[in-house]
């Protein structure tokens, strides 16, 4: 948590996950469709094909005094240096997993990279929520099987179909609450 020069509390939430798991789609949906929250501009650093090259970013305000700076990361393997930079100062993580069975290994590798960068902070000082995205895919793994394979039983688990906006708002509210609770009560 940081304060800016205007005294506003700023919390950084990072959407992390493997390539094409739906991180940008989630943030874009929150930006375009969720009413009742004030949002700043939507900044994207993407390649000519529209894939995230560095990050997407938008500030989302719950009140005038509390702002969530929400970032996505570039999921492709070669962008690991960019991901490390975006992760700096994160107050909360939303791990966006691709439910497709064919993407299981990519999910595991992405999570391992995150654990490697945050170490013991993950889930303790820095809350994490796991969003199982693309639940409508024909080869989507059953929830419990995917959770077990990722070894994320101790984290809050949410399901979504980001292209339809299903489950995205609820997951964002949940990680935002986790971040606030961590600051208020260190729980």
């Amino acid at each position: 948590m940081r304060r800016d020069a205007q005294g506003r509390l700023r919390f950084k939430i990072v959407l992390w996950g493997p390539s094409l798991s739906g991180k940008t789609t989630c943030l874009r949906w929150i930006y375009d469709e969720v009413t009742g929250l004030n949002k700043g501009g939507f900044t994207s650093v993407e390649d000519p094909t529209g894939r995230t090259l560095y990050f997407d970013y938008t500030p989302i305000s719950a009140t005038g005094k509390v702002i969530f700076d929400v970032f996505t990361t570039a999921g492709q393997r070669r962008h690991k240096h960019q991901r490390k930079i975006v992760l700096q100062g994160a107050d909360g993580i939303m791990f966006v997993a691709d439910s497709s069975r064919s993407q299981l290994q990519s999910n595991i590798e992405s999570l391992e990279e995150l654990k490697g960068l945050l170490g013991n902070q993950l889930g303790k000082e820095i809350p994490m929520l796991v969003l199982l995205n693309k639940r409508d895919l024909p080869d989507a793994m059953p929830r419990q099987e995917l959770v077990s394979a990722l070894k994320v039983e101790g984290f809050p688990i949410y399901e979504s179909i980001a292209v339809k906006g299903l489950g995205v708002k609820r997951a964002f509210q949940a990680i935002a609450r986790e971040v606030l609770l961590k600051r208020m009560y260190n729980v």
Binding site: R3, T35, Y54, M184, N186
Partner: protein, 155 residues
């Protein structure tokens, strides 16, 4: 809060006033947060926080590149465009970003950045250190957080 945050604005204002080619001055931290900024009047609406997030990311990426290549400490990042330039340099825990027109006196900008960076460094170190890792919210801050909690529930 013990840090005089108005000092940020004063230092940034001094920079923008010192050279007519300077259009915007933005102070960001290394997590992408825009701490303070000042800008000349413009008809074009600019998303300063987005620009600040990119400035921070670009500077940190250049630092990482230099580290991998063992090039030593990064001094300044310069991006030259047809109609303007962007400069970024470190000021302790923060990054000072200056956006100018194309004909700006580069030597002057460098000098201004050096001076401002030294001034900002000391205040920034104190400002950004005001977040002890495990200090819990209390008083006014707790009220702000509770209000945010309530707003999230209404969405």
């Amino acid at each position: 809060m013990t840090v005089d945050v108005k000092a940020f604005e004063r230092i940034l204002a001094d920079v923008i006033k010192a050279e007519s080619g300077i259009k915007k001055v933005i102070l960001v931290d290394r997590t992408g947060l825009t701490i303070a900024y000042t800008t000349r009047f413009s008809y074009f609406k600019v998303d300063v926080e987005g620009i600040g997030a990119i400035a921070s990311a670009v500077y940190c990426a250049s630092e990482e590149q230099g580290k991998s290549l063992e090039l030593g400490e990064l001094q300044i990042v310069t991006s030259e465009f047809e109609q303007g330039k962007i400069f970024a340099s470190s000021c302790g825990k923060g990054i000072l970003c200056i956006i100018t027109d194309e004909s700006v006196n580069i030597g002057m900008v460098r000098l201004l950045m050096k001076k401002a960076s030294e001034q900002l460094k000391a205040i920034l170190d104190e400002f950004l250190a005001e977040k002890p890792a495990v200090q819990l919210a209390g008083g006014e801050e707790e009220e702000e957080l509770k209000a945010a909690f309530g707003e999230l529930d209404k969405v």
